[in-house]
Amino acid sequence: MTSIADHTVTRSKSSFKLSMLLNDTRYRSFTFQFIALIAIIAFMAFVGGNLVRNLAEAGLNISFQFLKDPAGYDINQKLIEYNSQMSHGRAALVGLLNTLIVAFLACITATVFGVVAGVLRLSNNWLVSKIMSFYVEIFRNVPVLIWILIIFSVMINALPAPRDFRGDEASASMVLFDTIAITNRGVFVPSPEFTNSLSVAEQDVAEDGSIVPAKGWQDFALIFGVLFLSWIAAKLIGSWATRTQEATGSRPTTWYILLAVWVVPLVAVLAFLGLTWDVPALKGFNFQGGLQLRGSLIALWFALAIYTGAFIAENVRAGILAISKGQTEAAAALGLRPRRIMGLVILPQALRVIIPPLISQYLNITKNSSLAIAVGYMDVTGTLGGITLLQTGRAIETILLLMLFYLTVSLLISALMNVFNNRMKLTER
């Protein structure tokens, strides 16, 4: 055996000729791939070298030192501590978080819009299905930038300015028991505060002896921690119920236990922290207190959600139509109602068709959020790629960083969604 193998190897070695690189189908594809690879590398090297050389000739050298210099400008919406004395790098981080906020909110909302519209478009009710077709066609056939601008200018011009709320004969008033103010600068909603906050060592005391409420990330971390534990407990109760059902044949009633597991710890922790609400009130030029959802955020969020929702609706419709009609009929024959058929039989199978294009739509939302500057929302394109670029003149460096950022975020979203896709797809044996 060995001698034959040796013989074969020797023969193929001795018979290899250079011409075989082109003529022999075993090697030809490698040859062309190799040439193509070399060509691509050479082209990239040429472009990169040309850029560096021309920049050097123009007296510009690539340097990222500017990221450490003070930014000098203010940003209205900031999730982390920031002021104009902090660095350009910090300003970029603030913008980055703003991008992630709007992308996250828009992805969730677009999915809700898309699933509802996609399912309803297949409804047997003529009016409902036509309304949904109308929604899909109107929104996906007009550029998203136009929608952003339309929604923003409608908000600016149709909603009352804060000064309209002033005085005894105010032309506008707050809604929902005077807790929410809807203005053309944004929507002001009450935000939670705590009289026993973990974020401060000692709570300030007002002149009249009452405690000044405070809030910090520690408080919210505690609340989410408690909710997480409740969730685990609920899971355990659920699996206990299933085990009991399998053993005895009857499922124990658990809804009051579940209710207690969710509500009691939450109420206890909120009572411990001393929950109060910071209600917005008109002070000076503007509403103060509470949480301000800026008009720019709302316009961008809503426009991205409603625009991408139209695309997702089509994905959902495609996914549902991909499931054979026999499935629906079989489920109906078993006595399931239409809503149950959709929820239990059709959608779980349709998901494997829906999820892959859904990933692309999430990536589109993230990238389209860079249109934020049209409404003055300070995302990373507005801070790093806008003001920082203009103030420092470091165009190449900032654009490189921006590309790197969007690439990283997009790849992360893809990775996460692929994990989800792998869990949802049909297990084939």
Binding site: A58, D74, S153, I156, I373, G376, Q391
Partner: protein, 338 residues
């Protein structure tokens, strides 16, 4: 074998792709047109009129340079630029000069490698609010929402002003001046801030200009002037001395009315040097003798251009103020023609 040929070709291509030539004057002459960067539209400074012809205070500088170099004030290609695109357009050679309300700052001059050729308007950043808010000083603006044009020096001045006065504000960044005015008029911001000249220009276009007040505080120095690229000093000299010629003409009393009369020769040697009847200053710039005469001939001297475009008789209604001649207590001052 083939590979080395391939790389040789690449190297050749790399060598061919050089940078733009440094001699802007030759380029402009060969092209027969001056590419001049202006704003996308600020009334009085640079805006196309009803016939699509660019008019304004900054536009006049472009036309004067075109007249001096190409003997034709209409041989200008106006390139509208935004706050974002202006420097790239100039650095890349897309435009030969930028006359666009651009503030002369250290970093733009030194770091971005531009050459400011003088100041044609001394400005400062101001605030405008609706009169019914009853605010009389910018220091009362604690908590106000402020509309700003993003990517300009106003953003930085604003942050510095509010910080040094220890008062808070909410910035609303906006891409263009027109959008900022829209938001301001809808009440989406309490205050609009930009250069005081632009505030006056925008207010002139409002339905009821008297319902808006401009705060007395001027919070920054904004010397606005034309600029060119670093490294081509001959071209920079031409732009600089064309502007100086307009300023000197006003100082010496040379106007569009008496230009042809004075061009025949006067008793004042400096006027003669300026208008080319004595000596040959033009040749030193690489131009002919009558370059300055043609530049002044387009729309008159600096004062005439000011009055016609943004002066008190126009809807913009700006007083000369700092922009009066030094002999009248202003800052407008040209080095001598000698």
């Amino acid at each position: 074998m083939n590979k080395s040929v391939f790389f040789g070709a690449l190297a050749g291509a790399a060598l061919a792709g050089g940078v733009a030539s440094a001699a802007t004057l030759d380029d402009v002459k060969a092209r027969g047109k001056l590419n001049c960067g202006v704003t996308t539209g600020v009334p009085g400074f640079a805006e196309p009129d009803a016939n699509g012809v660019w008019q304004g205070f900054d536009v006049a500088v472009c036309r004067a340079v075109a007249a001096a170099v190409l003997s034709d004030p209409t041989a200008v290609e106006f390139v509208p630029t935004t706050g974002k695109t202006r420097f790239t357009a100039l650095a890349s050679g897309e435009i030969d000069m930028l006359a666009r309300n651009t503030t002369w700052t250290f970093s733009r001059d030194v770091d971005l490698k531009f050459e400011f050729t003088g100041v044609n308007y001394y400005d400062g950043q101001g605030f405008m609010t609706p009169a019914d808010l009853g605010v009389t000083s910018a220091k009362d603006l604690d908590g106000a929402t402020v509309c700003i044009q993003t990517g300009t020096t106003t953003e930085l001045n604003l942050a510095d002003f509010f910080r040094s006065n220890n008062i808070s504000y909410e910035p609303v960044p906006i891409e263009t001046g027109a959008e900022a005015v829209q938001q301001y008029n809808a009440g989406a911001c309490d205050v609009y801030t930009t250069d005081a000249s632009a505030l006056a220009a925008q207010r002139a276009n409002f339905e009821d200009p008297s319902a808006h007040v401009i705060m007395p505080e001027i919070i920054s120095k904004e010397p606005l002037g034309p600029l060119v690229r670093h490294g081509d000093n001959e071209w920079a000299d031409i732009v600089r001395w064309t502007l100086n010629a307009l300023i000197t003409a006003e100082e010496l009393g040379v106007t569009s009315v008496n230009l042809s009369e004075m061009g025949g020769g006067t008793n004042n040697p400096e006027i003669n040097r300026l208008l080319g009847t004595e000596g040959d200053l033009g040749a030193m710039l690489g131009l002919d003798k009558e370059w300055a005469k043609r530049a002044i001939g387009v729309a008159g001297n600096y004062g005439e251009i000011f009055e016609k475009n943004i002066g008190e008789s126009t809807p913009i209604g700006l007083a000369r103020g700092l922009n009066a001649q030094w002999t009248d207590g202003g800052l407008i001052y040209s080095p001598p023609f000698r």
